[in-house]
């Protein structure tokens, strides 16, 4: 027991890595295996039909090889998607219109703008709700209702309406993104700003602290963990909003446009590559916020 505890630090690092990486790798491997099986199964119908139309008989090996190498597969094989991603990311100049990096950048900029607007709106509304009783009672139910409006479904219309008001380009997309991302921030911040317990508030009262002092020195710091948790949800939501906003913008740029045009031409590999690029972007953004969170909370002494 004590021997294991006093093992060399390098060894411990390795053990930790193994404990973390091994399960992820195993699950990943399982998913890839299932994916390959799925690809063979789902693309099989097409390969059989083609063989029947061409009046040929396929060996099993032939059959499997063909299912994994279709131009327009129902489900592209993992290596096809990987190749598509590689081609899109590394195989182009990043300013090229075929570059996923370029499209990713277009999407990212609108996402960040929308995320900024949404976060600001969410925080301001939350501050209002916590400090004003009339706002508390009137805004919250309608904020919930606002999220049930299928904004994604009317996004095309929204874009047109904004265009008619002279707002075009990045902003309409960003506003759709903001619409989706303000809600998690609002909910999280209301909860966070209300999280100081009665005793902490009473202490402030006993010191006769002003409302502003109460806000800056008590409510805001104690809401930080909630804020960051919601920011992670919000940035993913903002990305989805941007992508949807890009769909009706038709054949212009962005990962959404890439998804759409892939879909329009039945280019499943292109769809999946754009999809993975989007997911990777989302994961990176969430991780970035996680990193900022750790940093801030550590400085605040809230991370242990």
């Amino acid at each position: 027991m004590t021997e294991a505890a006093s093992a060399a630090p390098g060894r411990r690092l390795w053990d930790g890595l193994q404990a973390r990486a091994l399960p992820v790798l195993t699950v990943l491997l399982a998913i890839v295996a299932i994916w390959y099986l799925g690809a063979i199964w789902m693309n099989g119908q097409w390969v059989r039909d083609q063989a029947a139309r061409a009046d040929t008989v396929l060996t099993t090996a032939e059959f499997i090889r063909q299912t994994l190498a279709l131009d327009r597969p129902v489900l592209p094989a993992p290596h096809q998607v990987a190749a598509g991603l590689w081609e899109g990311i590394a195989g182009q100049r990043i300013t090229s219109r075929r570059s996923l990096v370029w499209h990713g950048w277009v999407t990212l900029s609108a996402t960040l703008a929308g995320f900024g607007i949404g976060t600001l709106a969410g925080i301001l509304l939350a501050v209002g709700i916590v400090h004003n009783r009339a706002m508390d009672q009137s805004v919250m139910p309608w904020a919930v209702a606002s999220q049930t409006v299928p904004i994604l479904a009317i996004a095309p219309m929204v874009i047109v309406v904004f265009a008619s008001a002279g707002i075009t380009g990045l902003l309409p997309k960003a506003i759709i993104a903001a619409w989706l991302s303000f809600f998690p921030v609002l909910v999280g911040m209301v909860k966070g700003l209300r999280t100081p317990d009665a005793m902490q508030l009473d202490l402030m009262r006993s010191w006769s602290a002003s409302r502003a002092q109460q806000f800056w020195r008590l409510r805001l710091p104690s809401s930080m963990p909630y804020l960051f948790a919601s920011l992670k949800v919000a940035i993913a939501a903002a990305l989805v909003g941007t992508i949807v906003g890009e769909l009706p913008a038709g054949a212009t740029a962005g990962l959404g446009a890439r998804l759409l045009s892939g879909s329009y031409y039945g280019q499943t590999v292109q769809i999946w590559s754009a999809l993975f690029a989007a997911a990777a972007l989302a994961a990176a953004l969430v991780m970035l916020i996680g990193a900022i969170e750790t940093l801030v909370l550590k400085r605040m002494g809230l991370a242990r």
């Binding site: 097409w46 083609q50 139309r53 131009d71 327009r72 129902v74 090229s96 219109r97 075929r98 570059s99 095309p156 219309m157 874009i159 047109v160 309406v161 265009a163 008619s164 075009t168 769909l247 009706p248 913008a249 038709g250 054949a251 212009t252 740029a253 446009a257 890439r258 759409l260 045009s261 892939g262 879909s263 329009y264 031409y265 039945g266 280019q267 292109q270």
Partner: protein
């Protein structure tokens, strides 16, 4: 002068004339600065026009006339497309050979968002209900691509001669395995891809001059594209921001489009117009438009452009 054109669909050779006119400087020669807005699956150009987002739109006549009846005063100012490229493409194995007898009980893919009118009036010509059942046809809202046919979710899908049909072919289905029914051949063709503006625009004489110059330059572009399909396709490709189009597909599209724009200088043929209106009016219980429209087109622009 500034002018904004809203296309009906994504950047592709279907709109080659406009891109050529812009790229070759035809608009510039006329003193125009034209912005071309690509469309998309759920963009309704009529709505964009109504909202002031564009000065001119490319739209199909059924949708334009329907919008006119809804109170949006659209006017056709030019008609670069002489013939319709619409058709229904079926798998031969579905056993459909004759529309009048074989559609009943089948599932058909149709585009919506204002593009369903030609199909609906064809069906009412055939006396088929679109509510499903053994006597009618089951209608699917077809998405952006030709998958429903490849996946055999529908017996037939809507295709354009210049686009979706070739996607089916490219997907690996031989032409012999397909049966197609062109709207032209069925006598239910309606006019596609015309240029429309709001009535109020025509009251502004300065705008009218701009439109005249615009139509003139656009038609120059169309004729150039007709003669040089390869070059036109390349120009389209350069303007495609998604980077999803392929040259091969666009060249073929440009060649097919040339067949549709052939035989017109952009002036609307009144006989074609009348046929479209008649087709739409003959809709049985559910016609697309209820009365013959009045003032839905003007020859003023094309006359001044080409005199």
């Amino acid at each position: 002068d500034q002018l904004t054109l809203q296309l009906k669909w994504v950047t592709q050779a279907q709109f080659a004339g406009y891109y050529v006119a812009k790229d070759k400087g035809f608009y510039e020669e006329e003193g125009l600065d034209v912005t071309i807005l690509p469309g998309g699956p759920d963009i309704a150009p009529t709505q964009v026009l109504a909202g002031g987002g564009a000065d001119v739109i490319v739209e199909w006549m059924p949708a334009a006339l329907a919008a006119r009846e809804k109170g949006l005063p659209l006017v056709n100012i030019a008609q670069p497309f002489k013939s319709s490229g619409m058709m229904l493409t079926c798998l031969k194995e579905s056993g459909i050979t004759d529309p009048t007898s074989d559609f009943a009980g089948k599932t058909l893919g149709v585009w919506f968002s204002g593009n369903e009118y030609p199909f609906l009036s064809w069906m009412s010509h055939l006396g088929l209900s679109t509510e499903g059942g053994a006597e009618g046809v089951t209608v699917l809202k077809q998405g952006f691509n030709v998958d429903p046919l490849l996946q055999k979710q529908a017996a037939c899908i809507s295709t354009m001669t210049y686009n979706e049909y070739w996607q089916v072919i490219d997907a690996g289905i031989a032409p012999e395995d397909l049966v197609t029914f062109k709207y032209e051949d069925q006598g239910v063709a309606t006019l596609e891809d015309g240029l429309y503006v709001l009535e109020s625009t025509l009251e502004d004489s300065e705008k009218v001059t701009d439109l005249v110059r615009f139509v003139r330059a656009s038609m120059k572009g169309w004729k150039y594209a007709e003669e040089n399909p390869e070059e036109a396709a390349e120009i389209v490709l350069e303007n495609d921001e998604t980077g999803a189009q392929t040259l091969e597909h666009q060249v073929r599209m440009a060649q097919e489009i040339a067949k549709l724009t052939a035989g017109t200088d952009g002036t609307l043929d009144e006989a074609d117009y009348q046929r479209t209106v008649d087709t739409l009016l003959a809709g049985g219980s559910d016609p697309v438009i209820s009365a013959a429209p009045d003032g839905a087109f003007t020859h003023m622009i094309t006359e001044r452009a080409f005199d």
